[in-house]
């Protein structure tokens, strides 16, 4: 009997400890990711001297954030000044993010344009209301992998089968090297693919500007095979997405988010040095050595839309690109997928640059 009492007491203690650990408050955990995930950024701070509270606002990100997400994270400061309690949610993939928005778990998400349009194709009632980031991607190779022809049998890493980077590469190869067959591997995360490139486990990959600069600094034999930022500037990479009814239900919240995002983007161009100092607050993993060079490229390619992006030409180009790539069925139109009404209202308020 005593032995069973001891066993029961131990089991009860274990359960209590487990519950206590689970109930303990903590900042949002970094989402699961493939090799070598970057450290999760700090959670948005509470307002020091908050104006009248406007409540919590959840903003969803489709992966572990990187440098290109920095302005949208710095926009949290703008939202905090407006009285919001910002709660960022970092999900593992764009698909999870889209599903969270569809299920009303997150009112606003930042999704890749492809994931957004795919979900719309399946009947999800989503709209894109502003652009987050423009196209900043490049295709790079290492050593003997200099041209598209050199990709024959080479290990070419992409984010996933449905990644925009893969589609851009496929479109380029279809046009210029249709018979070349690389060995495609899937490695989620530009940073992880850059690491794999440095270690020599892959021969080519698509990377964001920040990782391009890092690779150029580390590898003497890096070859820039294509700059999609230059050749496909109208391809919208990531957009702010909401459920359609949210636009009517809570337009003021959405306008505040767009306004905060635009203000953060504009501060980047007006005060790039200040941006460098503010970035580590929400993105501690920033590489300070290469940051100035990266920011110059961001300015050159206008990666952060100062007027919210979503131009008519870009809307049409983005849809047509995916349709021509065979990834989207015909039938989606810019009018159905995109809604500029809130963005236009914000631009009327703060002016167009």
């Amino acid at each position: 009997m005593n032995r069973w009492r001891g066993v029961a007491a131990t089991a009860l203690g274990a359960i209590i400890l487990t519950l206590a650990a689970g109930c303990g408050g903590s900042k949002p955990a970094a989402p699961a990711a493939a090799p070598a995930p970057a450290p999760a950024p700090a959670a948005a701070p509470k307002p020091a001297e908050a104006p009248k509270s406007k409540g919590k606002v959840f903003v969803g990100y489709p992966s572990i954030p990187d440098l290109s997400d920095a302005p949208s994270m710095l926009a949290w400061d703008e939202l905090i000044k407006m009285g919001y309690d910002v709660v960022p949610k970092f999900l593992a993939t764009p698909e999870l993010l889209v599903q969270a928005v569809v299920r009303d778990e997150i009112p606003v998400g930042i999704a890749t344009s492809f994931a957004f349009l795919q979900a719309r194709q399946k009947g999800s009632p989503l709209k894109a209301i502003a652009q987050q980031v423009a196209n900043e991607w490049s295709l790079v190779g290492r050593g003997k992998t200099k041209t598209l022809a050199d990709l024959e049998g080479a290990k070419l890493a992409q984010h996933s089968a449905a990644a925009t980077g893969k589609m851009m590469t496929d479109a380029l190869m279809k046009a210029k090297a249709p018979n070349v067959k690389p060995q495609v591997l899937y490695v989620p995360g530009s940073e992880n693919r850059a690491d794999a490139m440095i270690k020599g486990t892959i021969d080519a990959t698509t990377v964001e500007l920040a990782d391009l600069v890092r690779l150029q600094a580390k590898l003497s034999d890096l070859n820039l095979m294509a700059s999609f930022a230059e050749t496909l500037p109208d391809l919208m990479f990531s957009v702010f997405i909401v459920k359609e009814d949210m636009i009517k239900k809570n337009p003021e919240l959405l306008k505040d988010i767009i306004k905060a995002s635009l203000q953060a983007n504009r501060r980047f161009y007006d005060d790039t040095a200040g941006f460098s100092e503010r970035v580590p607050k929400y993105y501690p993993a920033v590489d300070q050595a290469t940051l100035p060079q990266v920011l110059d490229l961001y300015k050159k390619f206008k990666v952060y839309p100062i007027n919210g992006g979503l131009e008519s030409a870009a809307q049409k180009f983005t849809i047509d690109f995916y349709v021509d790539a065979g990834q989207l069925e015909k039938g989606q139109t810019p009018e159905l997928a995109f809604d500029r009404s809130l963005l236009d209202a914000v631009l009327k308020d703060i002016g167009k640059k």
């Binding site: 698909e95 009947g123 490695v187 270690k199």
Partner: protein, 268 residues
């Protein structure tokens, strides 16, 4: 015993107890499950739970265009290689660990560690060392399967009746005879149970590895269609994987009956 009539009670026929066939119960439960699935899918948002009918259509398309067979072949390659190595290593290590107490005491902590370790946490390290290759996938499958094989085989050895061992020794059996005539047959039930469990874990490891490090196989099929919001194809791939795993594990049962027929015969 008096009849009902003799007791003055109304006369009734004895009622026969109807025995419901287990096969009928199983069939009805499967039909009920499939019906609930179809209904749930029709109320879903289209991004998560597909209907049964869409899943069947998706499976058919994948089967016809060869994608399913190609993915299955790639997956089975990694699974069978990983499981094969795990089986060989696991049974050898299990037999030795079970027989030599000093070895058990030395290695037990490592088996316990591997039992509780989330294997996918090791995946990034495996990728760094072995790259994005078949070797990496095989190693992940191996790690998923090996520990249960070792532990079950060792348990099988420890449960060998020492009276048999003593008897064999008293009749002059040498070490080799002891091992092949007494130890191995007696430990077989535990070892085969471990192999069956290991096989199931091999399939789990295979899918997990392919979702992480590969552009081939069933895991990749799942990731590919999940990223395109096509859950019917995801379900089709998962169901195929499960069906193949069950089929292979059923084959293991036949193996079990062959090698431990004496054990199953004991149960009569």
């Amino acid at each position: 015993m008096q009849t009902a009539a003799a007791q003055g009670l109304p006369h009734t026929r004895p009622r026969r107890r109807r025995r419901v066939s287990p096969a009928l119960v199983r069939t009805i439960s499967v039909i009920a499950f499939l019906t609930v699935w179809q209904i749930a899918g029709s109320y879903s948002d289209g991004l998560s739970i597909p209907t049964l009918s869409n899943t069947v259509r998706a499976w058919w398309k994948l089967a016809l265009n060869g994608e399913l067979l190609q993915a299955l072949a790639a997956s089975l390659q990694a699974t069978l290689l990983g499981f094969g190595f795990a089986g060989l290593f696991g049974m050898t290590a299990g037999l030795l660990t079970g027989w030599y107490q000093w070895l058990e005491e030395s290695l037990d902590i490592y088996w316990s560690l591997l039992l509780v370790l989330p294997m996918m946490a090791l995946a990034p390290i495996i990728i760094v060392v072995f790259g994005f290759s078949l070797a990496a996938r095989v190693i992940i499958v191996f790690l998923f399967a090996v520990v249960v094989i070792v532990v079950n085989t060792a348990t099988g050895v420890r449960q060998v009746d020492h009276a048999l061992v003593d008897m064999a020794r008293s009749f002059g059996a040498n070490g080799r005879q002891l091992f092949f005539r007494i130890l191995l047959p007696a430990a077989m039930p535990g070892a085969v149970a471990g192999l069956r469990l290991g096989l199931g874990r091999s399939f789990a490891g295979m899918v997990a590895a392919e979702m992480l490090v590969s552009s081939v196989g069933m895991g990749n099929l799942v990731t590919h269609y999940a990223s395109r919001f096509e859950p019917e194809y995801v379900f089709a791939a998962v169901i195929t994987t499960v069906a193949v795993a069950i089929g292979v594990m059923h084959s293991m049962r036949l193996l079990e009956r062959r090698f431990v027929a004496w054990k199953t015969a004991d149960r009569g």
